[in-house]
Amino acid sequence: MTDLTSLTLAEARKGLAAKNFTSLELTDAHLSAIEKARVLNAFVMETPDQARAMAREADSKIAKSDAGPLAGIPLGIKDLFATKGVRTTACSKILGNFVPTYESTVTSQLWRDGAVMLGKLNNDEFAMGSANETSCFGPVGNPWRREGSNTTLVPGGSSGGSASAVAALLCMGATATDTGGSIRQPAAFTATVGIKPTYGRCSRWGIVAFASSLDQAGPIARSVRDAAMLLRSMAGHDPKDTTSVDIPVPDYEAAIGKSVKGMKIGIPREYRLDGMPAEIEKLWEAGAKWLKAAGAELVEVSLPHTKYALPAYYIVAPAEASSNLARYDGVRYGLREQGKNIIELYENTRAEGFGAEVRRRVMIGTYVLSAGYYDAYYLRAQKVRTLIKKDFEDCFAKGVDAILTPATPSAAFGIGEKGGADPVEMYLNDIFTVTVNMAGLPGIAVPAGKDAQGLPLGLQLIGRPFDEETLFSLGEVIEQAAGRFTPARWW
């Protein structure tokens, strides 16, 4: 029998249905892969007993032909999703040993459809980071290394554990979240597929909040088809999230293989940055060529406010974070550091519980919302956000179906290499992805090639609101042309 961990989710589903193997066998294969890959630090909690129990249940349902669309498929869950009875920390010391008494809507839908939980995955603390280096559980290793080098690289972030685990074949797919690029950037760094759906597509209920007007959940997967299968289960209306949209979820898998003939693909000239590596430029051109060969029409488009998206994001996101993270006060859950009075208790708890990046963002957010600065910073940033969204609307109004860009300005880098002196250096990682969150649009990152050092690079496709299907159709074209990439095992 072939190694069960090397199957795609779609192949595993077929194998389970044909009774070639059981979910318990599939789950055990992944649990043993996880054990051997602890050096990657992708999982912050393994739940083997629960996984086997869920697998047995899936097997009995498959035997009775009563199986859901993800029956018996073992998944990893980003530690930002509340899981009932299983520690959920957002990889922050301040949540301590928080054990939710409820289940997030997105994960409950995965379990409804028969999926199996292998454990909780590492991420940047409160999803604030682009390298998975701010986690209180320590950094995550990227299964990819530069050719001929033993240096451990970052998997990107904030969903670094999700991307690393999927790339290293530790789980068949993973949940992730994306506020400024946290699904797409790690997917690009690890040769996995990641989609951030339209804002409102997935319920945010039960996901630890970072910046509520930007946060969206989505899957990281081994193929475009696998991502489509996972998103179908994760998406859907939820009365418990007032921003969740009440429209039907299409069968995303049906979009795979659909012709892209005649589609109009925009190439935004503002994404051509000064000093962009030639390899990224080449990859972008290759992507355009593949789509053209499949019958799409390429047009140059302009998104004039692109360069203001990242600075506006670094006002809006910290402002919302400072408000969302006010709840961590040492009273209702998590860590408590004593103080002489209640104010000192709050201040000591938050100083001890938040890491450096989170402290910095909460403070910036507090400043831009404070009396006398609100208009100059926050209000202005929200107006710029309107302009960023309008750029995309103008573009789509001219008949553009989707926009093709690089996913990241570089390949993965070494642990500790970036952002040490100036936090902005790290923030620039999200330069191509953050516009999409600011405009609430769907975006998919698909592996498209490798750089000269053998590291994966990805392309991003940006779609119209609630038109994830077009992204899956186009993503499939890129995947077919570029092929799929698996790292050589060194762990």
Binding site: N97, F98, V99, T101, Y102, T198, S213, T242, T243, V245, D246, H305, Y308, P311, A312, I315, S322, A326, D329, G330, V331, R332, Y333, G334, L335, R336, G339, K340, N341, I342, I343, E344, Y346, E347, N348, R350, F354, R360, V362, M363, I364, T366, Y367, S370, A376, L379, R380, A381, Q382, K383, V384, R385, T386, K389, D422, P423, V424, Y427, M438, G440
Partner: protein, 95 residues
């Protein structure tokens, strides 16, 4: 715009984060780096532009005015660091 040491201390207090004196210069540098970065927004013409309030145009949903949750006091206090019965314990607030 940039912040001085006194402003850093004021923001830290507003954010309810204890900051020691020797952390102030470092934080001041980082906050000023971020403020310098966002400074470029001042060159955008936002005359007559509405600030974004909702990224997806939609009507605010309203729930039925009925009790649909509750009787879960055990759950609410389950993760609290200090409780007595169904109460959170905090240092004395009112003399």
């Amino acid at each position: 715009m940039s912040v001085d040491a006194a402003t850093v201390r004021r923001i830290a207090h507003l954010a309810r984060i204890a900051v020691s004196e020797d952390e102030v210069p470092h934080l001041q540098g980082e906050l000023n780096a971020m403020l310098a970065f966002v400074e470029q927004l001042s060159e955008v013409n936002v005359e007559g532009v509405e600030p974004m309030t909702s990224v997806t145009p939609m009507q605010m949903k309203k729930r039925q005015d009925v009790v649909d949750d509750g009787e879960i006091a055990d759950d609410i206090v389950a993760n609290a660091p200090a409780t007595e019965g169904h109460f959170f314990l905090v240092p004395k607030v009112v003399e």
